[in-house]
Subunit: 349 residues, 4 copies
């Protein structure tokens, strides 16, 4: 089988680097283009990129020339690790030029005709793509994955939605430094410290899961009726976003049945066989002190959502802790899985 | 004025050290006894104690002999930094021997005849002491201060209770390492990590504020009818407990009036003049990213509660962030302030 | 080929866990016994062990019963992650009972008849084993690997020894927390801090490399005539020991030839084909700010020594920085490689 | 006594903030001007400055307007916290305009006619000022303090120089994040990591102490004949630079006499009475594991140099560890002490 040529947009940033790492030796995709900012265009990737991952830079990328982020590169599918403003400017141009864009950027997530997808949650929302193409007259299209903190939370809630219904969720995040990119958070701001604020983050967490947990109907997504309140915090952790969640259901439920429901959750059959899909979507830990970022973020190579501390909530029904790798499933890995879904559904060939 | 001789029980632990530091050059108290465990009894404090504070060990303590934690030392007031089990065994014996015990331990906090006091919140609850003495036949008595995380939270809620009434509060803590004592949390457990569990902590936070916010009536405290749900987390911070709180009131209220109410809160007049009382009980920050442990824990020398990010909550009425120095106001400083209150009220002379 | 049954002694500690991880799916060895302390004996490994690695616990170990650390378990080769005192007591008993013991413990490293081995450096020193067996009357034997900090340093010096001769080396280490085991260093001792002291460490670094760089002659090792001075520091790093080294040679040499010599170093041919041997023994980095623990410790899966900043020293000849993964090549991985060497040499069958 | 009006140049940076903090309630100086970069000029200091110190921002500074860094502000003495390039451009202009500039910048430290001063070490080197003024035709002048890492090291060596003579010193630093300013080191570069490189730092440490330990003769400083080799590392510490030093003397000396010599060191009499001078210039610790940054950096309010682990060196004569607060004595505090020296010597009135 000939591999599908893919590009990574914004390949020198923290999320871009994770794409570079995850796409090494991918069974379906071959990286044919890396794009960067003016500062790095024309350099070899190994020279222009300040690599921040603990895993070494893959050899295949080292000698590739960094291209400008604009139509012209050779690829059918473009994974976008662009910042929001850059994405807003360039992703429509790429879709108009015929590229399929699987974007990690926030720019178009809430646009009514742009699918916001976690394959384990709402793979059918790719149905929006036909409407998007028709409305905008694009040969290509844009599809997005959610904010890194929304990812694990939405997967956990999706597991519970059919059985219990979702009414309200209070969620407090403890988020990793890599979520802020590089250079991102200054060390003097986080050593021996916590920062209880991440610009724009609480709004995203309060909106994005509603879209993904909603239903596609007549070319539009009707959001789920659940209401969220979010507090977001930055902590001195390299990778792995943790969320403390208290949830109120439509129908009363206790910790035991909730834990069973989480542990038994499976992705739709088409999704299970995607190369980057985790064997286990949700791992439920029974120890009193898990999940923990450093010990659980690599579960399922960073694609498994880990839930623990499922217990009764004195105000709502249950409370629990969710951990998800923010730059793997929460960013590059999630976007990659979306790209694989597009192939499986025949939307990228 | 002759200073009142005081003892520090469990003086070699992390909280004990903070007592030692705060009592240096105290205007009312003079440290006449330091007690420790079997390992350290008989040694000079400077030798037996592994000092963990960033501030240097005060000279006065260096040469003092560590005494056993049992009746016999010369002091009228004993500040207790004992672990819960040790406190359960020895504090009643000390009260029976005539000592006034101002305890930071959790052992007797919820006992019906033991006052649980934050002077800025409920100084009148010392009225329980007469009942305690009568019921137990003790010439001395035990008075307690709350759990370190409850302290700042309860102060903030007390400021709001008269104006708005308190119905429900969802609270998620990010707690400092010093709260676990020494050696406490292993470095391999917290570097690049968060631990979403602190044994027994959530139960304390869900119960203690209700007692302090309650009313003393006919020799008993009737708890406030507010209901709490708590999540507790350990983070890589040396000092300073942070709490993300969402609060539902009896009467609807918005961020502006809540912030004004917090900023305007004053302790009862008798409390304001105590040597360790902060000039400002609550400092309200208006920056989007404050309070932060490293930058705000020293407000009012660790005795001021700092609140910020007061904003509308989509589920309850408002949400905000509370920071309090866990070993100062949340432990040794709170207990010391309680001791000063006892002097001001004539209960220790 | 039938795999050789091996045991891990002290399998629940930090180094023991690394053995458990590295031996998952090993081509030559199969773990047939895990031993632990009284606290854990009789429990399933998954229950008795507080796993501290970032990598998940391998499934094969989870259900194994923890055995006492004494003769009787079924294995031909025992990898020892025991503390020094325990090793001193039990390793001779095991050798006397016929086991081959590949020990990471310091207890017997400097014993004249016990080989202290890094396969890339001195594989011929296993020649001591015959003398050891004869002198002690053991059917089994003990072989050791060096202190974690000595490992990378000795490999780098071995690369330079033939060409330039070694006269003096000043070495200052910045060592990771995992080197102290678990619970090891208290978080309050290392957050926002450095501890400039590790008990017994400087002596080991000043002695062990001399033995390994020495020559085996007539059944005894004659130490290399190089003299070391060591300063050791503990820093807030999870894994990866860094050493700043200044070296004076017998024959003057500059940074360029030293860097080439390091980069060109190869292990003896028999060693290169061992399953755990790194493809590249030493990786020389040319960036000004490498190696770094978090970014380079996984080079060669933790078995490659990374050297950088090779430059002229105003006092000696050159100075450079050496990084080695302290629990992989510096402990469990080094000991495992020694076990493989024993198989290749026919000393374990 | 009327206070002397002083300015702080570059007041919004990390070192500038430390000047602001140290000059609160100074007995001799009153801050009359704060200067900043284009970004902050015209704003109130409390708004334009992102405060990074753990100590709260002093009230006096909050409402002051940030001025441009150029002649025109009202002050007789200007403390400079400027970056090197800015200092190179503007400090001569200020000296030409009549200001006395006490600079923490590296720009002119090694200029032959600019004194490089630690008052405890070489207060007589201010004798260069007359030559500087004559040669350059300036009514004002520039005086500098050394690099933060050189400070403590030079003080320790000065204590030993008269008794033993200095021949060679091998020094390896573990430096705090605040030394890199703000935002400085990215958190992703230092969490769970060490960076073995600080641009330009090793050269400074190898040169600056030689000038300060030298002798002023006929209007020029003859450097001391000691030779240094330095390795510098950045570690995850907020404040406090640590140096591991091995020293070879002209005359053999052992740890006992060296420790006594360090502990007995006194500043020249005129220096001892300066407001910011530490009561004790060097504190010698006898514990095996001190000094440590977090526990010892506040010794003498950050102005005392703490030395420990004095022991025999197998290659040179002795080795020891030096700790100095890098933004207090190593930067703003050292510069402030220099300003006080100028007043005591009548060079600023």
């Amino acid at each position: 089988m000939t591999k599908i040529p893919v590009a990574i947009l914004g390949a020198t940033g923290a999320v871009g680097q994770r794409f570079v790492q995850l796409l090494e030796a991918h069974p379906w995709f071959e990286v044919t283009a890396l794009t960067g900012s003016d500062r790095t265009v024309g350099q070899q990737y190994g020279d222009g990129c300040r690599w921040v991952l603990a895993e070494p830079m893959p050899d295949y990328a080292r000698g590739m020339l960094v291209l400008p982020t604009e139509p012209g590169f050779e690829a059918r599918l473009a994974f976008s690790a662009l910042p929001a403003e850059a994405a807003r400017a360039v992703e429509p141009a790429l879709a108009a030029a015929g590229y399929a864009v699987s974007s990690n950027a926030s720019a178009f997530r809430m646009a009514p005709d742009v699918p916001l997808i976690i394959p384990e949650v709402n793979p059918d929302h790719t149905g929006l793509i036909a409407h998007q193409r028709a409305a905008r007259g694009w040969p290509g299209f844009i599809l997005t994955n959610p904010n890194c903190t929304s990812t694990g939370l939405t997967i956990a809630l999706k597991a519970l939605q059919p059985a219990f219904g979702l009414r309200r969720a209070m969620v407090v995040s403890l988020q990793a430094l890599s979520g802020a990119g590089y250079p991102g958070v200054a060390s003097l701001d986080i050593l021996d410290n916590v920062v209880p604020y991440i610009p724009g983050e609480e709004e995203k967490i309060e909106q994005e899961p509603r879209k993904m947990l909603g239903t596609l109907h007549a070319g539009a997504v009707r959001p789920a009726p659940v209401v969220f309140s979010a507090h977001t915090n930055r902590v001195a952790v390299s990778d792995g976003h943790m969320v403390c969640a208290s949830v109120e259901f439509e129908r009363a439920a206790g910790p035991k049945e909730v834990a069973e429901c989480l542990a038994g959750f499976e992705a739709p059959e088409m999704v299970r066989t995607l190369p980057s899909a985790p064997r286990q979507v949700i791992e439920v830990r029974s120890e009193p002190d898990r999940p923990q970022p450093r010990k659980d973020r690599l579960a399922g190579a960073g694609m498994t959502t880990v839930v623990g501390r499922v217990r009764t909530d004195p105000l709502f029904h249950v409370k629990f802790v969710v951990l998800s790798h923010n730059t793997v499933h929460g960013a590059a890995g999630g976007s990659l899985l979306n790209g694989e879904l597009l192939v499986a559904q025949g939307l990228v060939q």
